[in-house]
């Protein structure tokens, strides 16, 4: 094809070299020639309907839209000719006749594309004397505020839903002047990417509800940052006013998040202002929490840790959150090692450590490359909820025809075509083993594995493909047979010659692994709790919510002599288990670095002032290191820590070694088994406190036990019943939902939601009682 041919066009007398077939508007954009537009967006299909980008092309009698015109060799274009100026003026006037001109009270004021273009291309006289159109409002949920009277019908939001979010929720109903953009009926927009329409909307029709009337665009200072939840590491802009985080926008980066942001990354900043924020160091004295000075608290922490470590350093256990920064984790590790202990781990939601390999679990390829795979096998991953923007990449691949197969303990609502093998946790292992056998690999499992045509088809598909990937997700990492799943995945990858990787759970899972926040010969996250330690150092975690087995975590810590929690929040669970709480600065308040799923190191600076007396985690740990008289704690900036880490660990990641599949399948149980998924808006301490996200249907519906109709019938339970789930010596009451997405023999009981603190392993035997 001629696609790659270089051609020359002329725009406003200036010759431009470009590729044949490119869109004129992209060519002029690249050359810095400004053509106004409303409906065009480079990540969406072309509507060519706003008629703002009209240009004059030699030999064409009418003005034509630059957004829908492919360049051709020798094309002569004018963007400021009388014909074009007249067209722009006309369109601008038409857009404004029905648009309320109340910019001073509009939330988009100061960052409105209509306002900007009107300045440059409009005229200032109003010749329209009739009443303006008014659209009644509908509520579309807690995240997006609507003012559809301001809508200019560019349909970007509609196309976004269809083309990117994969959920047609908004539409254009009615016709002509009566055409209205919206959901037609009051209906929550539920996509996990919904907030992007706020950025896409050129006017103030769709704006951020949490941000509504909070600040004006020109009062805000912008800081670039990195989103702190999933492992994509989306680039963000943190907007602050007088040191306070006011909102978060995406910062475009085609290699990572393109121009998008998940709702979790966009709206979680609200958690920064939670009432739970710890603003003052606290020490528990005789069961009572009392405020302390920093000196007092740090001294108490240091001496307490020293007292435990000096007789038996192995009695110290350190648990770090994989959402903590590299710098924080590195210092926590240094302290642990310095005290003589090897017990440190970030894999808080992992149960099965039989493999315990030191290889870094990462994607094994770039994020962007996911969109050009032709087939994928996802093992234990609710990809859409766990990693919304990785799901977006896979969706793009699927739309191009990639075959995607999932092996999961629940049926997912996906926004792309995929085949799903759904079974109980033990069945997942069987399915994977069967695929491995079908692919010609030999595992060392003792069980008899039945290979069906479906398994063979998956194996064949992988073999035939040219760029396939096998990935293990969050649900796999919490699975009681994670080690075996890994081994089988590696086996299949080898037999079918495709790449294999892990989808890291959190923003800095890879970073923690890279700098070695795992025990060598010490105790891992699970064994540290199974074999209670006398002293724990906790970095950014809430034991009842952030561990695979909260019942175990709570009992281990309650019986410990000392629990030092470096934390941004004061939560009931920490109040119960900790002895000292040191207030750490929260999201946006500290500098630091994350390593994302593809192994990319990303550094960010602090954007906002720490709340109360809280301090950046690295500073707290540095002083703690000093007080412990440990070597190598004289950093004067977090950058110094980072430089040191880069020197030591900055090498490019190698392909993940996932071990071999051997051992006993532990996930088989006799009764009901729990599927302990971590819901999207419960994943970490910050998002759990983001009030608007907690109001979404997604969050509200998460705190329920789910069983399929046959399990419900067997137990004599109905949708909406209150039930008690009993597990690991604990018990939690929840509402029951009858949900065909859950396989036989299973009860979906989420982790990290209220009530789940008293339960055991995320996967494991569980029973249900009606209350």
């Amino acid at each position: 094809m001629s696609e790659e041919k270089t051609i020359t066009i002329e725009v406003d007398g200036q010759p431009l070299e470009t590729k044949a077939g490119a869109l004129l508007i992209d060519v002029t954009d690249a050359a810095g020639i400004d053509i106004p537009r409303f409906c065009y967006h480079k990540k969406l299909s072309i509507a060519a309907s706003c008629r703002m980008c009209l240009v004059e092309v030699a030999k064409v009698p009418k003005p034509i839209p630059a957004c829908a015109t492919q360049v051709m060799d020798g094309m002569v274009v004018q963007t400021r000719s009388p014909m074009v100026l007249a067209a722009q003026k006309a369109t601008m006037e038409f857009l404004l006749i029905n648009h309320p001109l109340d910019c001073p009270v509009c939330d988009q004021g100061g960052e409105c594309e209509l306002q900007d273009v009107a300045m440059g291309y409009g005229s200032d006289v109003t010749r329209f004397v009739e009443a303006k159109r008014v659209i009644p409002e509908t509520d579309i949920g807690p995240l997006i505020a609507t003012d559809m009277t301001r809508c200019i019908h560019c349909t970007r939001c509609v196309r976004f839903g269809d083309e990117v979010a994969g959920m047609r929720e908004m539409g254009a109903t009615g016709r002509g002047e009566h055409m209205t953009i919206g959901t037609f009926i009051a209906h929550n927009v539920d996509s996990e990417l919904s907030g992007n329409v706020i950025d896409l909307c050129p006017v103030g029709a769709l704006t951020s509800k949490p941000f509504q009337y909070r600040a004006r665009a020109w009062e805000l200072t912008r800081h670039t940052g990195v989103a702190p939840h999933d492992s994509v590491g989306s680039n963000i802009q943190v907007h602050t006013r007088r040191g306070e985080v006011m909102r978060v926008h995406p910062h475009s980066n085609d290699a990572i998040n393109e121009v998008w942001l998940s709702d979790r990354d966009r709206f979680s900043y609200e958690g920064v202002k939670s009432e739970d924020r710890l603003t003052q160091p606290l020490i528990k004295k005789d069961g009572e929490w009392t405020e302390a000075s920093w000196e007092e608290a740090l001294e108490a922490a240091a001496s307490g840790l020293k007292n435990i470590a000096s007789p038996d350093a192995d009695q110290i256990g350190t648990l770090v959150s994989p959402t903590a920064t590299l710098e924080e984790i590195a210092l926590a590790r240094k302290i642990t090692k310095g005290l003589g202990s090897s017990n440190i781990d970030y894999r808080l939601r992992q149960e099965d450590f039989r493999g315990n390999s030191s290889a870094v679990p990462w994607l094994g390829q770039s994020i962007a490359s996911l969109e050009s795979i032709d087939s994928a096998l996802l093992i234990g991953s609710n990809i859409r909820k766990d990693q919304p923007l990785l799901a977006h990449r896979l969706r793009k691949a699927a739309l191009k025809g990639a075959k995607i197969q999932l092996i999961n303990p629940l049926q997912l609502d996906l926004h792309f075509d995929a085949a799903q093998m759904v079974s109980d946790p033990a069945g997942m292992v069987h399915n994977l083993a069967a695929i491995a056998e079908a692919a010609g690999g030999s595992h060392h499992l003792t069980e008899q594995i039945e290979v069906t045509a479906e398994h063979k088809a998956v194996a064949e598909g992988l073999k035939r493909s040219e760029s396939a990937v096998i990935l293990l997700g969050n649900l796999a990492q919490s699975h009681p047979d994670y080690t075996i799943l890994c081994g089988l995945a590696a086996l299949i990858a080898k037999a079918t010659e495709v790449s294999v990787g892990v989808i890291p759970m959190a923003a800095n899972s890879v970073g923690a692994a890279v700098i070695g926040a795992i025990p060598d010969h010490g105790l891992n996250a699970h064994s540290m709790l199974e074999n209670p330690r006398k002293g724990y150092l906790l970095l950014g975690i809430e034991p009842g919510r952030d561990t695979n087995n909260p019942a175990l975590a709570r009992s281990a810590m309650s019986s410990a002599e000392l629990v030092v929690a470096v934390t941004a929040y004061r939560s009931p669970c920490l109040e119960e288990t900790a002895s000292i709480m040191l207030p750490m600065s929260g999201f946006g308040e500290t500098s630091g670095s994350f390593v994302n799923a593809e192994g990319r190191w990303q550094h960010f600076s602090g954007a906002a002032a720490p709340v109360g007396e809280s301090r950046p985690g690295w500073k707290i740990l540095r002083v703690l290191g000093n007080l412990l008289n440990l070597d190598g704690f004289d950093y004067s900036s977090s950058e110094e820590i980072l430089d040191e880490l880069r020197d030591a660990h900055g090498a490019e990641l190698k392909v993940t070694g996932l071990g071999t599949a051997k051992g006993k399948i532990r996930s088989a149980v006799t009764g009901l088994v729990r599927i302990g998924e971590t819901p999207i808006y419960a994943a970490d301490a910050l998002v759990r406190r983001a009030t608007s996200l907690q109001k979404t249907a997604e969050a509200r519906e998460a705190a329920a036990a789910r069983v399929n109709p046959s399990v419900a019938a067997d137990a004599g339970l109905f949708d909406g019943d209150r039930v008690a789930v009993v597990q690991g010596g604990g018990r939690a009451e929840m509402v029951l939902r009858v949900d065909p997405h859950i396989p036989d023999g299973c009860v979906w009981v989420p982790a990290a939601v209220p009530g789940s603190e008293s339960l055991g392993d995320q996967f494991g035997e569980i029973s249900l009682e009606k209350v």
Partner: protein
Amino acid sequence: MSALETKNRNELFTPEIRAEIDHEIAKYPEAESQSAAMAALRIVQDANGGWLTQERMDEVAAYLDLPPIAIYEVATFYSMYEHKPVGRNKLCVCTNISCMINNSDQIVEHLNNRLGIKFGEVTEDGRFSLKEVECLGACGGAPMMQVGRKYYENLTPERLDSILDELE
């Protein structure tokens, strides 16, 4: 997940309606059942007393496996779908140019007077509703109106009276 999504396709509508919709679906290539959306809405509207409710539209969406908004868009774009109750006889009077210059005003006025309703309204007994429509492609017989599937042309107040008398 809405209650509808979990509903079995075969629990939607009556078997007759399903057969009718299926007949429409069969007119189009396999992956293109959305093409039957307009016909499905028409069929369901007819069976629902001549108008659509949100529930009916949601059912059509579920039956065709489409997002509800796609159906709302269609159902609000085309003027033959009704979103409010209509009379048993929906009198659609053309007032476009050829009819207008042939005195459609007089026809409308006669209907207003005789039925006591205006455009967009339904008689109290539910027997008639009145709708203004655009050119129906029968200008040779102006003024004209459509009732149900039938065209009535060359209308005069007298002819109107006898037509109305015959409509149940």
